[in-house]
């Protein structure tokens, strides 16, 4: 076993796939930043709100006001430098830090694929993605044809985890036996050409989509790994993501996954891609560059230990929900960072009550006074948002001179086509509750059973 691992770690592979991945990743991220900017979301998400929801442990992350644009500029620029491979290590570290900082500024916009990009860019810090076909190589007049196999494999493993865990998360009774939430979502896509009026409301179609989605997620990493099935699998990748792009507003995610899946292909394809980029660039490679056979990382041991720790965490974090007693979809304790994508149609309504603990006098809060519509929507059904907002309200009214401030919430939530039921215990003063990793005892029971992982 040990020798097998040792042999594996000495194996090498072409540097071309990782170089192409670097270029694709950098360009997509650049496009993603520009897109976000042009849609005006920097303003509406990061600058306009009076109050920002923060991840537990990252409350110190401050929003930057108008400097947020500068942060996006840095992020976009570093993505471009990653693409061309100029001062790669510095560029990818800058990208990782700036992108992650952006995400940490506001929890409301949490998306699995933003998290994916964050950890992928972290992983890329340790990979020799600039050793082939890069400006760095051109400037140093040296490039390497081959790199250790584990470097490209680590990206495949991460992509594999994303798919496979997304598939595992679909092994639940709502998804498989009630076809929820697709049964709620698909009929509203009635205005899609051709299939809108014919398929989207069909019961069998909801089940077909649910089950094939589950099989797709569980199996696609293996079909991509296996050479003989790779082309067909890639065809499925394209079809699946384009189709979901048509159905749902999932932004960059489909393209990120399609381009990322190219890493599974052999070097032939990547060399062809590099050749065509070379042709596009014209005289770029005119200067003679020394090409060495194999690049061997200097801090191999350190890097391998970091990656081992990284992947151990990646494998474990999605299962942390097992440490919590109640229904995951209801409490959302351990829900994020686990590749649970498109699993819930959850809507809530939260009405906050500010009480003077001594006199019992109270009044209700108009959420619109404090939150953007997007924030209010996300807050209404996620307990950690509700708690954080309750504290914000408590602090706000305390600073306004209100005495003995207690904050209560009357809230309801509806999950996957069930009627809404009371969500948070309205007798608990949330202002006195602290955020922690412990189970939140003030979430009311779900009174139903969603079986499965």
């Amino acid at each position: 076993m040990k020798s097998k691992v040792k042999t594996y770690l000495t194996q090498t592979t072409s540097a071309a796939p990782l170089a192409v991945f670097r270029i694709g990743f950098g360009l997509m991220m650049l496009y993603g930043i520009v897109r976000y900017w042009l849609k005006g979301w920097i303003d509406t998400v990061y600058i306009q709100p009076k109050f920002h929801f923060k991840y537990y442990g990252f409350e110190w992350v401050k929003t930057l006001g108008d400097y947020t644009y500068l942060l996006f500029l840095i992020c976009g620029l570093s993505a471009f430098l990653v693409a061309i491979g100029y001062k790669y290590r510095l560029a990818i570290i800058t990208f990782f830090l700036s992108f992650t900082y952006i995400e940490l500024m506001e929890k409301t916009t949490y998306l699995n694929h933003y998290y994916f990009i964050s950890i992928l860019s972290f992983l890329m810090i340790f990979l020799p993605a600039e050793k082939y076909f890069s400006v760095d190589g051109y400037r140093n007049k040296i490039q390497y044809k081959n790199i250790p196999k584990w470097t490209t494999d680590s990206i495949k493993l991460l992509i594999g985890i994303v798919y496979f865990y997304a598939g595992l998360a679909k092994l639940n009774s709502d998804w498989l036996f009630k076809a929820q939430p697709l049964k709620t979502w698909l009929p509203s896509k009635y205005d899609i050409p051709f299939i809108g009026e014919s398929l989207m409301h069909q019961n069998w179609f909801h089940y077909a989509m649910s089950w094939s989605g589950m099989f797709y997620d569980l199996l696609i990493p293996f079909f991509l790994l296996y050479r003989k099935t790779r082309v067909v699998a890639f065809f499925f990748v394209v079809f699946f993501h384009v189709f979901t792009r048509v159905l749902f507003p999932i932004g960059m995610f489909p393209f990120v996954m399609i381009v990322s899946a190219l890493i599974f292909f052999d070097a032939d394809l990547h060399n062809k891609i590099i050749d065509s980029i070379r042709k596009l660039l014209g005289g770029f490679s005119a200067k003679a560059i020394e090409t060495k056979a194999v690049y061997r990382p200097k801090n191999r041991k350190l890097v391998l230990s970091i990656l081992a720790l990284f992947f151990t965490l990646q494998l474990l974090i999605p299962f942390r929900y097992l440490l919590y007693p109640n229904e995951l979809f209801w409490t959302e304790e351990g829900y994020r960072f686990s590749w649970r994508v498109m699993l819930m149609e959850k809507m809530g309504y939260a009405n906050f009550k500010i009480v003077n603990g001594e006199t019992g006098q109270f009044f209700y809060v108009d959420n619109q006074d404090f939150l953007t519509p997007l924030q209010e929507k996300q807050m209404s059904f996620q307990p950690d948002f509700i708690l954080e907002y309750a504290h914000y309200l408590g602090d706000h009214f305390k600073s306004q001179g209100h005495k003995n401030v207690e904050v209560y919430v009357e809230s309801y939530a509806a999950l996957n086509g069930r009627l809404s039921i009371p969500f948070i215990d309205k007798t608990v003063n949330l202002y006195a509750e602290k955020e922690s990793f412990k189970p939140k005892h003030w979430i009311l029971p779900f009174n139903d059973d969603i079986k499965g992982l």
Binding site: L176, P181, H201, W204, F215, F363
Partner: protein, 367 residues
């Protein structure tokens, strides 16, 4: 070859998944796709347009009785004018929620029913005689609440009120405000009948500008902010530290402000059930839409909660101002009952119909 085999395997798996799903289904079969054009047509032709026509007629009557009053200021003409004003105000409750199309463009409800009305602004307009009623800055000095003030609140008793109208400035302002209400309503109605109706009923795209979305958003917004909060919640003081009896609708007439709430609530339920404005016929609406999505459970809950809310409102003193002043608990109970409907509309119905309530400005992977 092997490539093909695996291709076939995947296809088979997908097909298997489909057939298997039919066996494991919970028995819920969604019916044929819901006819949204029929729903929009029913709501437009049998609810919205007849309501506007009724209001238009009421306002024509109001203009006539106002003309009679300003020609001859006397108690009898004042009484007629007051009656016609309140009749129109009740009818207005049936259209306020349709803040779409021309109404949205003209800021119709903001120019018809902003209360509390700003008496200082009104008196200032009257004394200077220098005003543009269509100006947004005058929204709190026009519409039904301004007329409320001018017919009931401008002086202490009827003798004094009639005396006020010996001043031509008051006559002019009253006349201008009522004429403005009539002409505004008429332009909204005309737009519906000549133009908007036809584009409205076919614009079924599930986008922010689609008719289903706009109508539903206006409906839920109206119910939550204008019916539940403004008519009951704010006067009952649920958003403030103390009750605010002076913030009820029709505060100067005061003796029958409850009727306006009941009218509004009835319209909300009628629209939900697709019940025609002029008859008891029911057509396609949110109710049948939810039924088509197998959400009969939700239909029952919503109607039951609306019924409870109506009972709670009916239990109130017909004078909401004095209800707040004497026994505010009943008001907050009514508020709580109205609130339960918001829960059903916002967290259940919007979710079930999957129409975004706010224009979702962001990517979403449904996590």
């Amino acid at each position: 070859m092997i490539k093909r085999i695996f291709g076939v395997v995947i296809v088979v798996l997908v097909v298997l998944a489909c057939t298997e799903s039919d066996d494991t289904g919970s028995g819920n079969t969604t019916n044929d796709t819901f006819d949204r054009v029929a729903m929009l047509t029913n709501i437009a032709d049998n609810i919205i347009i007849p309501a506007y026509q009724d209001l238009d007629a009421d306002l024509n009557t109001l203009v006539a009785s106002k003309n009679a009053f300003i020609t001859e200021v006397n108690q009898a003409n004042l009484e007629t004018l007051r009656t016609d004003w309140f009749t129109a105000y009740k009818t207005f409750q049936a259209v306020q929620m349709f803040q779409i199309g021309k109404a949205e463009e003209l800021f119709y409800k903001d120019r018809m029913n902003v209360y509390p009305t700003n008496t200082t602004l009104i008196e200032n307009n009257i004394s200077t005689g220098n005003y543009v009623l269509s100006n947004a800055s005058n929204n709190a000095a026009v519409g039904f609440p301004a007329v409320d003030y001018m017919l009931y609140g401008v002086a202490n008793d009827d003798v004094a009120i009639l005396n006020v109208y010996t001043n031509a400035n008051y006559i002019n302002y009253l006349s201008d405000v009522i004429d403005e209400m009539q002409s505004l309503t008429n332009s909204v109605l005309t737009d519906w009948t000549t133009n908007y109706r036809n584009s409205f009923v076919v614009n079924t795209a599930n986008v922010a500008s689609g008719s289903v979305n706009k109508l539903l958003n206006a409906y839920v917004f109206y119910y939550e902010k204008e019916l539940r909060a403004q008519k009951i919640g704010i006067p009952a003081g649920v958003f403030s530290t103390t009750p605010q009896p002076l913030l009820v609708e029709a505060v100067y007439k005061e003796d029958n402000s409850k009727e306006l709430v009941l009218e509004a609530l009835n319209t909300v339920q009628d629209v939900f059930n697709g019940k025609a404005y002029n008859s008891s016929n029911e057509g396609e609406s949110y109710k049948t839409y939810l039924v088509a999505l197998n959400r009969n459970d939700l239909v029952e809950v919503i109607n039951a909660r609306l019924d409870v809310a109506r009972q709670k409102v009916q239990a109130l003193n017909s004078n909401l101002k004095s209800q707040v002043e004497t026994d505010n608990t009943k008001m907050t109970e009514a508020y709580d009952a109205l609130q339960m409907v918001v829960v059903s509309l916002k967290s259940d119905m919007l979710s079930a119909l999957n129409v975004s309530y706010v224009v979702d400005p962001n990517d979403n992977d449904g996590d």
